[in-house]
Amino acid sequence: MSEYLLEMTGICKSFAGVHALDHVNFAVRPGSVICLAGENGCGKSTLVKIISGVYTKDEGEVTFEGHKIDKITPAEATKLGIQVIYQDLSIFPNLTVMENLAINSEITAGQKVVNRKRWEKTAREALSKIGYDIDLYAKMGDLSVADKQLVAICRALLFNAKLIIMDEPTTALTKKEVDALFKTVRQLKEKNIAIMFISHKTEEIFEISDDVCIMRNGKNVYAGKTADLTREDFTYHMTGRKLTNDKFVPKNVSKEPVLEVKDLSLKGAYENVSFELRKGEILGITGLLGSGRTELALSLFGLMKPKSGEIRLNGKSATISSPMEAQRLKIGYVPEDRLTEGLCLRQPIADNITLSSLKRLSGKFGILNHKDIYKDAQIWVDKFSIATDDPHKYASTLSGGNQQKIVLSKWLSNDLDVLILNGPTVGVDVGAKQDIHQLVHELANDGLAVIIISDDLSEVVQNCNRVIVMKDGHISGEIGSDDITEDNILEIIR
């Protein structure tokens, strides 16, 4: 028997003539954690779907526990001991924990009638696998994301899983919950269960994985021990280019501040916040969740009304009572949750880009010309190299990074003085992250004043020439240019 639990060699799969997977090799050792990494659209999910039997391969060989397997169906994959925990966890929020745990095995066993006692026994057995304790009669929808995930893991273990595939499991988790999850993962490892971890978060990959397989454009470009890899190599393999971590150096800072905030207060959110922002600067605002950073941003965009204090724009006192008013005052805001707040996913890309510049694009009597919209949108598609062949396509067809580019171009297509970016690269992969950062640097040097709100310290360090640290609604420190390091920021946060 080979040393591998699962071994795949020369796997090919194409969709309508496009190679999604091009001779991919992939192997998992029993009882190890392997990370499958790569940017969006690199073929990660196609590979997973071949393993789980959702897709059939065109070419290549799959060996599981030393046996050659020709064709896998989802049911067979389960029988072999392969379990996939999807990003949405595939749970039923309206059913109880017990039902969620037992339902899959009941269906697999071909049961027709419900036997509560058997369900409960199955559920308890599932929980005992990782020694997890939870009220079996609680409604699934009432649990936290972390608890839901543990239930999903327990459910997978019922099938005597030998390989558990987790699709971006940490996306919706807090740092603490990620730690708890990793503890469980290590626990599973001890039971000789192999874990395949799909992620693009560099830090997590280095923390948890033994092996790593990196894919790019349907090919695997690296496979081996994680320990043999530096972070720079990793990024290089992911993106296929040497990323230059250029620190932002302001070149074009105006004398007069464009935005002045004086003693701004909103009870329960932030208090006595004062700062200035000049054109050409990138100001970072960081702090823990609940430090008031998001509320402050919302106030600057007219979405939350401050109780007292003053906001001055270009030297003139201004009341920003609504997003409309903020836009008139040339302030733009890119929200944290771009999917629900910043994009209409089921709308064409072009319409999304031009959404906030319709006034400029409309002719006499406010009538819009379809052609102008697409002409305007094309400019931004080209400028940001948004990966689409046709701006008529829905925004939902793009990856996270490209979606973020749309949100940015939506604002930039209007003439702005101040642009507020809240968590600009959350959920965006390394390459697109780099693109977005580069772009923001250029914008600042072209004379835009930028505020980046982020808890990603490396992002703040790399992109800001000044950083304000917030804590419990107060500004607890401000750091300038050369002093901006992660350690210095952490010092103030603590």
Binding site: S90, P93, N94, L95, N104, V114
Partner: protein, 333 residues
């Protein structure tokens, strides 16, 4: 454990609906000077619950699966009008009503199958599909087949079944009221629905699909087939209920059930079913249908104009849907 079970119970819509039902009854009993709990009133109310209660079961099962069916009264109407017309023309069912019922069930199943086919295989919004089929079915009955009202010529066995009774009661003034034997069928349907929803994998599949269709598919349920069967059975049962209505009313009127869904759906929502699917119980639905029947039957009793019933029904829709939406919002966090 006991305490948490009590807590869980009070969190359920069904519990509160039950409380509301009891309070409502006591209130009406007091206002009407004790008329509500007179045996004749009780029997009359139970009798008028038969058809609506059975329709509510059909509607509930579909809502649990995440569907929203507007066409079940139209299916029932076309099934019974066609069935009674065929029976009349062939001289069937003068002594035995069963062929008429079988015919209606078959017609209902075929119509339901059409719903099921469109919904399961084209994955369309159920409300839009059934809005279309509802009108389509009415069109078949009125335009294509030109089905007529059948009143005095109705096959005798239907009339006989409709007037048969389990027992009779008298009130203090000597008025007589009979308990229709068809009430048994309502009770049986309630028991079957409850069993299917709670004790069969098919029923749990409906909850699972209503909760998260993609997950249900991944868990190994055949979602398409389940939906197809669901709408076919719902059509068959609707046809059956239609025949019961014909018997009870002693007449077959093709347009009699137009708009009926607008009385049933709010009741089912009031009973705890979610418009987003995955929630709802037989107990809650029976309580809710009881509330609506009691109220509409008591309006005369306590001297309120029956036009107020629309106001009441409208309010029920709004309250039910708001509660349902609030629950969904809480679930999403």
């Amino acid at each position: 454990m006991n305490k948490s079970m009590l807590k869980r119970m009070t969190h359920r819509t069904e519990f509160w609906i039950f409380i509301v039902l009891i309070i409502m009854c006591l209130l009406i009993q007091a206002i009407s000077g004790g008329q509500l709990f007179e045996p004749t009133t009780v029997v009359t109310i139970l009798r008028s619950m038969i058809v609506d209660g059975m329709f509510a079961m059909v509607c509930l099962v579909i809502m649990v699966s995440g569907g929203f069916d507007l066409s079940f009264p139209a299916i029932a109407a076309l099934a019974y009008s066609l069935s009674t017309t065929i029976c009349l023309n062939n001289g069937w069912c003068e002594t035995n009503p069963i062929p008429g019922f079988i015919l209606a069930v078959i017609i209902g199943a075929v119509l339901g199958m059409l719903n099921g086919w469109i919904i399961a295989y084209f994955k369309l919004n159920t409300m839009i599909v059934t809005l279309g089929t509802q009108t389509f079915f009415l069109g078949i009955s009125m335009g294509l087949l030109q089905l007529k009202e059948i009143t005095s010529t109705l096959p005798k066995s239907f009339k006989a079944l409709g007037t048969s009774y389990l027992f009779e009661v008298y009130n203090s003034r000597g008025l007589r009221s009979t308990m229709s034997s068809l009430f048994i069928l309502f009770v049986i349907l309630v028991i079957i629905t409850s069993f299917v929803l709670n004790k069969t994998m098919f029923g749990r599949a409906l909850y699972a699909i209503g909760g998260n269709e993609v997950s249900a598919e991944r868990a190994g349920y055949n979602v398409r087939r389940t939906k197809f069967i669901l709408y076919t059975v719902a059509g068959a049962v609707s046809g059956f209920i239609g025949m019961i209505r014909v018997c009870l009313a002693s007449q077959s009127i093709p347009k009699a059930l137009v708009g009926k869904e607008m009385n049933i759906i709010p009741a089912v929502i009031l009973g705890g079913a979610s418009i987003f699917g995955g929630e709802g119980s037989v107990f809650g639905t029976v309580c809710a249908i009881s509330i609506i029947t009691v109220v509409s039957n008591s309006m005369l009793l306590i001297g309120i104009d029956t036009y107020w019933q629309d106001l009441f029904n409208g309010a029920v829709i709004l309250v039910g849907i708001t509660v349902s939406a609030l629950q969904a919002m809480r679930r999403k966090g």
